[in-house]
Protein backbone atom coordinates (compact mmCIF):
# COMPACT_ATOMS: atom_id res chain seq x y z
CA UNK A 1 0.00 0.00 0.00
CA UNK A 2 1.39 3.40 -0.92
CA UNK A 3 -0.88 5.49 1.25
CA UNK A 4 0.86 8.09 3.36
CA UNK A 5 -0.34 8.50 6.95
CA UNK A 6 0.58 11.20 9.48
CA UNK A 7 -0.04 10.25 13.11
CA UNK A 8 0.15 12.63 16.04
CA UNK A 9 0.50 11.66 19.70
CA UNK A 10 2.55 13.14 22.54
CA UNK A 11 3.12 9.73 24.15
CA UNK A 12 6.22 7.93 22.80
CA UNK A 13 4.58 4.65 23.83
CA UNK A 14 1.46 5.37 21.80
CA UNK A 15 3.50 6.49 18.79
CA UNK A 16 5.37 3.18 18.83
CA UNK A 17 2.17 1.19 19.20
CA UNK A 18 0.45 3.09 16.40
CA UNK A 19 3.48 2.77 14.12
CA UNK A 20 3.69 -0.96 14.84
CA UNK A 21 -0.04 -1.40 14.25
CA UNK A 22 0.07 0.47 10.93
CA UNK A 23 3.09 -1.57 9.82
CA UNK A 24 1.32 -4.81 10.71
CA UNK A 25 -1.71 -3.90 8.65
CA UNK A 26 0.46 -2.90 5.71
CA UNK A 27 1.15 0.83 5.92
CA UNK A 28 4.83 1.75 5.67
CA UNK A 29 4.83 5.37 4.50
CA UNK A 30 4.38 7.08 7.84
CA UNK A 31 5.11 10.48 9.37
CA UNK A 32 4.93 10.92 13.13
CA UNK A 33 4.52 14.07 15.19
CA UNK A 34 4.48 14.82 18.92
CA UNK A 35 1.73 17.45 18.94
CA UNK A 36 -0.39 19.62 16.67
CA UNK A 37 2.29 22.24 16.02
CA UNK A 38 4.83 19.55 15.19
CA UNK A 39 2.29 17.97 12.81
CA UNK A 40 1.78 21.24 10.93
CA UNK A 41 5.54 21.74 10.64
CA UNK A 42 5.99 18.21 9.31
CA UNK A 43 3.12 18.56 6.85
CA UNK A 44 4.58 21.83 5.54
CA UNK A 45 2.29 21.96 2.52
CA UNK A 46 2.63 18.30 1.53
CA UNK A 47 -0.46 16.16 1.31
CA UNK A 48 -1.11 12.91 3.14
CA UNK A 49 -3.89 10.36 2.73
CA UNK A 50 -4.88 10.22 6.38
CA UNK A 51 -4.16 11.99 9.66
CA UNK A 52 -4.48 10.08 12.92
CA UNK A 53 -4.41 12.30 15.99
CA UNK A 54 -4.71 12.20 19.77
CA UNK A 55 -6.81 14.87 21.51
CA UNK A 56 -4.93 15.88 24.68
CA UNK A 57 -1.47 17.12 23.75
CA UNK A 58 0.81 19.98 24.81
CA UNK A 59 1.65 22.93 22.52
CA UNK A 60 -1.33 22.29 20.23
CA UNK A 61 -4.13 19.82 21.02
CA UNK A 62 -5.82 17.57 18.51
CA UNK A 63 -8.87 19.80 18.66
CA UNK A 64 -6.83 22.87 17.73
CA UNK A 65 -4.99 20.95 15.02
CA UNK A 66 -8.25 19.89 13.37
CA UNK A 67 -9.53 23.49 13.45
CA UNK A 68 -6.39 24.60 11.61
CA UNK A 69 -6.61 21.72 9.11
CA UNK A 70 -10.26 22.32 8.33
CA UNK A 71 -9.58 26.02 7.79
CA UNK A 72 -6.71 25.43 5.36
CA UNK A 73 -7.45 24.78 1.70
CA UNK A 74 -4.43 22.43 1.46
CA UNK A 75 -5.61 20.12 4.21
CA UNK A 76 -9.35 20.60 4.63
CA UNK A 77 -10.27 17.41 2.71
CA UNK A 78 -7.77 15.07 4.39
CA UNK A 79 -9.64 12.43 6.44
CA UNK A 80 -8.91 12.64 10.17
CA UNK A 81 -9.14 9.71 12.57
CA UNK A 82 -9.05 10.66 16.24
CA UNK A 83 -7.64 8.13 18.73
CA UNK A 84 -8.11 9.39 22.27
CA UNK A 85 -8.82 8.50 25.90
CA UNK A 86 -11.80 10.88 25.84
CA UNK A 87 -14.83 8.65 25.67
CA UNK A 88 -17.72 10.90 26.69
CA UNK A 89 -20.58 11.44 24.28
CA UNK A 90 -19.99 15.22 24.38
CA UNK A 91 -16.39 14.66 23.26
CA UNK A 92 -17.51 12.58 20.29
CA UNK A 93 -20.08 15.25 19.39
CA UNK A 94 -17.42 17.97 19.61
CA UNK A 95 -15.09 15.96 17.37
CA UNK A 96 -17.88 15.39 14.89
CA UNK A 97 -18.66 19.11 14.81
CA UNK A 98 -14.97 19.85 14.20
CA UNK A 99 -15.03 17.68 11.08
CA UNK A 100 -13.38 14.50 12.37
CA UNK A 101 -14.11 11.52 10.10
CA UNK A 102 -13.54 8.67 12.56
CA UNK A 103 -13.22 8.32 16.34
CA UNK A 104 -11.62 5.54 18.39
CA UNK A 105 -11.36 5.44 22.19
CA UNK A 106 -8.15 4.02 23.67
CA UNK A 107 -7.28 1.27 24.24
CA UNK A 108 -7.80 0.14 20.66
CA UNK A 109 -7.32 -3.19 18.94
CA UNK A 110 -5.60 -3.56 15.56
CA UNK A 111 -8.86 -4.87 14.11
CA UNK A 112 -10.67 -1.63 14.98
CA UNK A 113 -7.88 0.53 13.54
CA UNK A 114 -7.77 -1.53 10.36
CA UNK A 115 -11.55 -1.26 9.95
CA UNK A 116 -11.55 2.51 10.48
CA UNK A 117 -8.66 3.11 8.10
CA UNK A 118 -10.28 0.92 5.46
CA UNK A 119 -13.50 2.92 5.81
CA UNK A 120 -11.63 6.20 5.41
CA UNK A 121 -9.02 5.53 2.74
CA UNK A 122 -9.82 2.10 1.37
Amino acid sequence: MSKKILFVDDSPTMRRIIRNTLNRIGYEDLIEAEHGMDALEKLNGQSVDLIITDWNMPEMSGEELIKVLRGDANYKDIPVLMITTRGMKDDVMTALALGVNGYVVKPFTPEVIKKKITELIG
Partner: protein, 208 residues
Protein backbone atom coordinates in the same frame (compact mmCIF):
# COMPACT_ATOMS: atom_id res chain seq x y z
CA UNK B 1 -44.48 75.81 83.83
CA UNK B 2 -45.76 73.51 81.06
CA UNK B 3 -42.38 73.75 79.33
CA UNK B 4 -40.58 72.61 82.52
CA UNK B 5 -42.91 69.64 82.80
CA UNK B 6 -42.13 68.64 79.21
CA UNK B 7 -38.40 68.87 79.89
CA UNK B 8 -38.68 66.76 83.03
CA UNK B 9 -40.74 64.19 81.16
CA UNK B 10 -38.11 64.11 78.42
CA UNK B 11 -35.37 63.55 80.98
CA UNK B 12 -37.38 60.78 82.66
CA UNK B 13 -37.90 59.23 79.22
CA UNK B 14 -34.15 59.29 78.54
CA UNK B 15 -33.40 57.79 81.96
CA UNK B 16 -35.90 55.02 81.24
CA UNK B 17 -34.22 54.35 77.90
CA UNK B 18 -30.82 54.15 79.59
CA UNK B 19 -32.27 51.82 82.23
CA UNK B 20 -33.70 49.60 79.51
CA UNK B 21 -30.33 49.61 77.79
CA UNK B 22 -28.60 48.48 80.97
CA UNK B 23 -31.28 45.87 81.48
CA UNK B 24 -30.77 44.56 77.93
CA UNK B 25 -27.01 44.60 78.38
CA UNK B 26 -27.35 42.66 81.62
CA UNK B 27 -29.47 40.08 79.83
CA UNK B 28 -27.11 39.87 76.85
CA UNK B 29 -23.88 39.71 78.85
CA UNK B 30 -24.23 36.06 79.96
CA UNK B 31 -24.94 35.11 76.37
CA UNK B 32 -21.85 36.97 75.12
CA UNK B 33 -19.76 35.40 77.88
CA UNK B 34 -21.10 32.00 76.88
CA UNK B 35 -20.32 32.73 73.23
CA UNK B 36 -16.75 33.69 74.08
CA UNK B 37 -16.35 30.53 76.15
CA UNK B 38 -17.58 28.52 73.19
CA UNK B 39 -15.08 30.26 70.89
CA UNK B 40 -12.32 29.59 73.42
CA UNK B 41 -13.27 25.89 73.52
CA UNK B 42 -13.34 25.88 69.75
CA UNK B 43 -9.88 27.40 69.40
CA UNK B 44 -7.83 24.15 69.79
CA UNK B 45 -9.93 22.50 67.09
CA UNK B 46 -9.45 25.49 64.78
CA UNK B 47 -5.72 25.41 65.57
CA UNK B 48 -5.54 21.74 64.71
CA UNK B 49 -7.48 22.28 61.47
CA UNK B 50 -5.33 25.25 60.55
CA UNK B 51 -2.16 23.26 61.19
CA UNK B 52 -3.39 20.31 59.12
CA UNK B 53 -4.36 22.51 56.19
CA UNK B 54 -1.03 24.37 56.21
CA UNK B 55 1.01 21.17 56.45
CA UNK B 56 -1.08 19.40 53.80
CA UNK B 57 -0.83 22.36 51.46
CA UNK B 58 2.95 22.43 51.87
CA UNK B 59 3.00 18.80 50.74
CA UNK B 60 0.89 19.34 47.62
CA UNK B 61 3.83 20.31 45.34
CA UNK B 62 5.69 17.18 46.48
CA UNK B 63 2.66 15.00 45.74
CA UNK B 64 2.40 16.66 42.36
CA UNK B 65 6.06 15.91 41.58
CA UNK B 66 5.57 12.30 42.68
CA UNK B 67 2.76 11.91 40.15
CA UNK B 68 5.00 13.31 37.41
CA UNK B 69 7.74 10.87 38.55
CA UNK B 70 5.33 7.94 38.30
CA UNK B 71 4.43 8.89 34.74
CA UNK B 72 8.08 9.22 33.79
CA UNK B 73 8.98 5.88 35.38
CA UNK B 74 6.14 3.94 33.75
CA UNK B 75 6.95 5.59 30.40
CA UNK B 76 10.57 4.44 30.65
CA UNK B 77 9.57 0.93 31.73
CA UNK B 78 7.08 0.68 28.89
CA UNK B 79 9.70 1.75 26.37
CA UNK B 80 12.04 -0.93 27.71
CA UNK B 81 9.33 -3.58 27.33
CA UNK B 82 8.61 -2.39 23.78
CA UNK B 83 12.33 -2.58 22.94
CA UNK B 84 12.43 -6.17 24.21
CA UNK B 85 9.29 -7.09 22.26
CA UNK B 86 10.75 -5.61 19.08
CA UNK B 87 13.97 -7.56 19.63
CA UNK B 88 12.09 -10.83 20.21
CA UNK B 89 9.95 -10.19 17.16
CA UNK B 90 13.03 -9.57 14.99
CA UNK B 91 14.71 -12.75 16.22
CA UNK B 92 11.58 -14.74 15.49
CA UNK B 93 11.55 -13.40 11.95
CA UNK B 94 15.18 -14.38 11.46
CA UNK B 95 14.59 -17.96 12.66
CA UNK B 96 11.34 -18.32 10.74
CA UNK B 97 13.17 -19.39 7.55
CA UNK B 98 15.11 -22.10 9.41
CA UNK B 99 12.17 -23.85 10.99
CA UNK B 100 10.05 -26.56 9.45
CA UNK B 101 6.68 -25.80 7.93
CA UNK B 102 4.77 -27.36 10.83
CA UNK B 103 6.46 -24.93 13.27
CA UNK B 104 5.63 -21.84 11.19
CA UNK B 105 2.20 -21.72 12.84
CA UNK B 106 3.86 -21.61 16.27
CA UNK B 107 5.97 -18.64 15.23
CA UNK B 108 2.92 -16.83 13.86
CA UNK B 109 1.11 -17.41 17.15
CA UNK B 110 4.05 -16.10 19.17
CA UNK B 111 4.10 -12.99 16.95
CA UNK B 112 0.40 -12.50 17.68
CA UNK B 113 1.04 -12.84 21.40
CA UNK B 114 3.80 -10.23 21.15
CA UNK B 115 1.38 -7.89 19.38
CA UNK B 116 -1.21 -8.38 22.12
CA UNK B 117 1.33 -7.56 24.83
CA UNK B 118 2.19 -4.41 22.88
CA UNK B 119 -1.47 -3.31 22.61
CA UNK B 120 -1.91 -3.95 26.33
CA UNK B 121 0.84 -1.38 26.95
CA UNK B 122 -1.59 1.34 25.92
CA UNK B 123 -2.49 1.33 29.62
CA UNK B 124 0.62 3.48 30.17
CA UNK B 125 -0.74 6.39 28.13
CA UNK B 126 -4.26 6.00 29.51
CA UNK B 127 -3.17 5.97 33.16
CA UNK B 128 -0.65 8.77 32.52
CA UNK B 129 -3.43 11.02 31.22
CA UNK B 130 -5.61 10.23 34.24
CA UNK B 131 -2.70 11.02 36.60
CA UNK B 132 -2.01 14.26 34.76
CA UNK B 133 -5.64 15.22 35.28
CA UNK B 134 -5.34 14.46 39.01
CA UNK B 135 -2.13 16.50 39.03
CA UNK B 136 -3.87 19.53 37.55
CA UNK B 137 -6.55 19.25 40.27
CA UNK B 138 -3.84 19.17 42.97
CA UNK B 139 -2.20 22.26 41.49
CA UNK B 140 -5.53 24.10 41.42
CA UNK B 141 -6.18 23.20 45.08
CA UNK B 142 -2.67 24.36 45.99
CA UNK B 143 -3.13 27.72 44.27
CA UNK B 144 -6.55 28.16 45.92
CA UNK B 145 -5.13 27.53 49.39
CA UNK B 146 -2.26 29.95 48.76
CA UNK B 147 -4.86 32.61 47.91
CA UNK B 148 -6.79 31.81 51.10
CA UNK B 149 -3.61 32.05 53.21
CA UNK B 150 -2.79 35.38 51.61
CA UNK B 151 -6.29 36.66 52.40
CA UNK B 152 -5.92 35.45 56.00
CA UNK B 153 -2.65 37.39 56.29
CA UNK B 154 -4.38 40.52 55.02
CA UNK B 155 -7.19 39.99 57.54
CA UNK B 156 -4.86 39.84 60.52
CA UNK B 157 -2.91 42.88 59.45
CA UNK B 158 -5.86 45.13 58.64
CA UNK B 159 -8.29 44.46 61.50
CA UNK B 160 -7.84 44.42 65.26
CA UNK B 161 -10.22 41.50 65.62
CA UNK B 162 -8.23 39.61 63.00
CA UNK B 163 -4.97 40.29 64.87
CA UNK B 164 -6.50 39.10 68.16
CA UNK B 165 -7.97 36.03 66.53
CA UNK B 166 -4.70 35.00 64.89
CA UNK B 167 -2.85 35.73 68.13
CA UNK B 168 -5.27 33.53 70.07
CA UNK B 169 -5.15 30.92 67.37
CA UNK B 170 -1.38 30.71 67.59
CA UNK B 171 -1.31 31.05 71.36
CA UNK B 172 -4.05 28.61 72.28
CA UNK B 173 -1.68 25.68 72.11
CA UNK B 174 1.78 25.73 73.59
CA UNK B 175 4.76 25.60 71.24
CA UNK B 176 5.93 22.13 72.32
CA UNK B 177 2.49 20.70 71.65
CA UNK B 178 2.40 22.39 68.25
CA UNK B 179 5.80 20.94 67.37
CA UNK B 180 4.68 17.48 68.44
CA UNK B 181 1.54 17.73 66.25
CA UNK B 182 3.57 19.02 63.30
CA UNK B 183 5.97 16.08 63.63
CA UNK B 184 3.07 13.59 63.75
CA UNK B 185 1.55 15.13 60.64
CA UNK B 186 4.88 15.06 58.83
CA UNK B 187 5.35 11.38 59.67
CA UNK B 188 1.86 10.55 58.43
CA UNK B 189 2.47 12.33 55.15
CA UNK B 190 6.05 11.33 54.60
CA UNK B 191 6.84 9.43 51.43
CA UNK B 192 8.09 6.00 52.43
CA UNK B 193 8.36 4.79 48.84
CA UNK B 194 11.93 4.79 47.59
CA UNK B 195 13.01 8.24 46.61
CA UNK B 196 15.81 9.43 44.42
CA UNK B 197 17.42 11.77 46.90
CA UNK B 198 20.55 9.62 47.03
CA UNK B 199 22.17 7.46 44.38
CA UNK B 200 23.12 3.81 44.85
CA UNK B 201 26.78 4.81 44.51
CA UNK B 202 26.36 7.25 47.38
CA UNK B 203 24.67 4.56 49.48
CA UNK B 204 27.48 2.09 48.71
CA UNK B 205 29.99 4.68 49.90
CA UNK B 206 28.45 4.43 53.40
CA UNK B 207 28.98 0.68 53.48
CA UNK B 208 32.64 0.65 52.48
Amino acid sequence: MGKNTEQIEAIIQQIEEIRQLFKTTAEVLPFIADLFQFLKDLMPIITETNLSIVESTQNLPTASHRIADVNQTTEMATQTILDKLDAISSRLESVRQDVTANRQQDIAEIQDDIAHIMYALQFQDITAQKLEHANRILQTIYEKFLTIFQQADELKTTSQIGQRFIHDLNGSTDEAELQRRRQTLREKMSDTVRQQGISQDDIDQYFK
